[in-house]
Amino acid sequence: MSGITAQEREAVERIVRGAFGALTGRGGEPLRYAMMDDTPVGVLGLAAGRRGLRHLSFVRGEDDFLERLLAEHGEVAVLKSSELDDVRRALDRYFAGKRLDFDLAVDLGDLAPFHQRVLDATAKVPAGRVATYTQIAARAGSPKASRAAGNALHNNPVAIVVPCHRVLRTDGSLGGYGGGLPVKEWLLRHEGALL
């Protein structure tokens, strides 16, 4: 085929092999993704592997989310899928206020141990309650590492489901949020933690 170098052709073959392998179960673990385009907090991108949810991100749109996934995971097995319906339904219930806590498998296996401990501690903060960065650092086993805990929370790959928005500064101010502070505020009000 003219206009396509051998290298490019090889790249397409690799992409197709990986994707098809994922589809037929002959390849590695696929990363499946889905979009939620109109939630009260904007566009969300979801991605899950076999062991659970790996990404819940605030994004500008599908291409933006895909660019991030491809940059982080390579193009081999990233596929749009209808298999994330359970996650979408859980989020719909959350946004409708019918059920504010999540019972979803989350896969944080790629993260560093401290990062995982911080997110595990955060996942235990129930809806309607908040914790401070210092408390989370202590619960993750490193009481002095509140700044590191803040960084870990800022890099939470599974927003909302791992409720990093429930973690505030010790003085009660909101701190930061990857999805923007108005979103953090909306989520906390929605859960009844802010009046």
Binding site: Q7, V16, L23, R68, L69, L70, K80
Partner: protein, 175 residues
Amino acid sequence: MSPDHPSVPAPAAHRIALLLAKHGEELARHIRRIVRDDDTAQDLLQETMLRAWKAVARLTEGSNERAWLYRIATNASLNHQRARSRERAALARHAAELAANTDHPDGATGEERDRAGLWAEVARLPERQRLALSLRVADELDYEEIAARIGGTAEAARANVYQATRRLKMKVRGA
């Protein structure tokens, strides 16, 4: 996120990676419905994405990329099916000729039975032999041309066709 991640595609492959991520699963399902064979479907999905790549510059903003990819996949799959049925028809004719022209040990005619048995035997031929035979009898290529398509030398292509024919004749003789 590491910018030099080994599996990040070359820029030219990037658009294809996006298209494949968005539509790969449903396209693969669509192609498998037509060809019903995973290996073939994988080849055809690959061909679809390469064709898409060649034409992606003509895909303007806002056009329906999903419908466009489906059309490419459908054409590739149906072309494949047509070529395949031409090949099957030619191989079946070849098998029928072999059956008619080969002496039977018991003098029975049984042409129908032979044809079915031969067809099964064609399917059992080693891939390279089946391919060489098919290119010879279905596409009527000479051995140089066959070698150019399946690799190896013209002599090897001739040997593959010979071996395939010999196996089919042995089948007719009941060996």
